[in-house]
Amino acid sequence: MKNPYEVLEIKETASKDEIKKAYRTLAKKYHPDQYGNNPLKDLAESKMRDINEAYDYLMKNGGTNTYTNGSSANYTSSNSSTYQSVENDIYNGNLSSAESRLMGINTRDAEWHYLMGILNSRKGWYDQANTNLSTACSLDPNNFKYQEALNKLRGMNNSYRQPYYDNRRKDPDICNICASLYCLDCLCGGGNC
């Protein structure tokens, strides 16, 4: 891993608020969505990954020493280790264990909603997954990982529909016939019965 302070372009003495501020500025600058099909998009993506990694690292480890008191720092770090094992569980397909771990956490931050969203989409509970991931994104709008997961869930729907709508557009008249015939004829053979 690269030096997180260098990635976020801050001093090693930076406070938690300064880290957050630096992260937001960089995330805005490098968010891959704004690059469209531009070849720079890949570069922005890898830069964004570094930024996220650095930010996560500093939020978990550094940054807590000066501006937060001991108890809440402990809280954050114990949650983050639970999050890690939840992620492993989901990755290994052990969904029920991941779920019971998540339900045991009382402070539900963006990461919690993100993991819950991933878990629910693995379970096939898409409505809840959509709600969870949207919440994660609104709690932390600059997090690329959350946005990507939400886009992936919604994108699945759109790319599936594409062949159907393309066909309809190519052949608008046929579809009108189709509609008018629908009531007259059923698949068991209709008029031949």
Binding site: K123, G124, D127, M156, N157, Y160, N167, R168, C175, Y182
Partner: protein
């Protein structure tokens, strides 16, 4: 609850259309031979899809014959015969219809359903022994679903649909134990969820006017809106869930080692499901259609 999984006829090749009919008639014949004449009335398209999908995973050529039957008395129909996937679908069809009748009896005490449930119960005794444990399992899942529907307190649409999805996953993946079991379960889970939710949305108007339980109404209509307002408000959300389920079915289907009928199955999952959604949401070509 049944009959939503069909091909989109306009996108179908004639040969696939004929094949689908042959499976459909074959299923009807199989019910007659294995179970009895009366349960043929419960024949449905979803179970035809089940038979086609399972049969497409082996490379045995289906046997087509021309047969006459009571319903099509004068004109012979092409029928697939001696097919164990059709027999499996025939048993599933009968078992599911029986529990559907039973549910109707509990819901509104309908006399017609009561009579049918008693008749079907007798027919169910005829199922072969290796299918008995399937029936017990189906019964358990459906009992849980009906219990949940009757005592639902704060359920989400995902948790309500889970039981029917699980049931469909079980049915699709329990024909035999091979490598495809996991994929078939996942395809079935998503398809079952799709059926449960599209059926609920399709029945929304009816259920609301008769004050019957409806999963969509129960989960989302917190402000007690009237049908017109509510259905407009919720449509996009339902459309998202249905589209995602259907997309997952398609993705899983692509991973299966399909040996035959590939274009027919592709048609059902790619065009048939979306066509049904257009029909239920009254959009696209169905926009100006009067209700039939």
């Amino acid at each position: 609850m049944f009959g939503y999984v069909t091909p989109c006829k306009m996108e179908l090749k004639i040969k696939d259309y004929e094949k689908f009919k042959a499976y459909y008639c074959g299923l009807c014949k199989s019910i007659k031979i294995n179970i009895g004449n009366l349960p043929r009335m419960a024949l449905n398209y979803d179970m035809t899809f089940l038979a086609i999908l399972l049969d497409s995973l082996n490379d045995i050529d289906p046997i087509y014959t021309k047969q006459k039957c009571g319903i099509h008395a004068f004109k012979g129909k092409v029928v697939i015969k001696n097919n164990s996937c059709l027999d499996y679908a025939a048993f599933c069809n009968t078992a599911l219809s029986y529990y559907k009748f039973l549910d109707n009896v509990n819901d509104d005490n309908s006399v017609k359903s009561k009579i049918f449930s008693l008749l079907f119960k007798n027919y169910l005794k005829k199922v072969p022994t290796d299918f008995k444990k399937h029936i017990t399992h189906i019964e358990n899942i459906l009992t849980n679903l009906y219990k949940l529907e009757n005592n639902a307190v704060d359920s989400s649409i995902d948790s309500l649909a889970h039981h029917f999805a699980d049931l469909t996953g079980f049915i699709l993946s329990s024909y035999n134990n091979d490598d495809n079991k996991e994929s078939l379960y996942w395809l079935g889970y998503n398809l079952g969820k799709w059926i449960y939710i599209i059926d609920a949305f399709d029945d929304l108007k009816d259920d609301m006017s008769h004050d019957k339980f409806n999963a969509v109404n129960f989960c989302f209509n917190k402000d007690n809106l009237c049908y017109e307002e509510f259905s407009k408000q919720i449509q996009q959300r339902i459309d998202f869930i249905l589209g995602t389920c259907a997309a997952q079915c398609m993705n899983t289907f692509k991973k299966l080692p399909i040996k035959k009928n590939e274009e027919l199955l592709y048609n059902i999952l790619q065009y048939g499901l979306l066509d049904k959604m257009d029909k239920v949401f009254k959009r696209g070509v169905y926009k100006d259609e009067k209700s039939i």
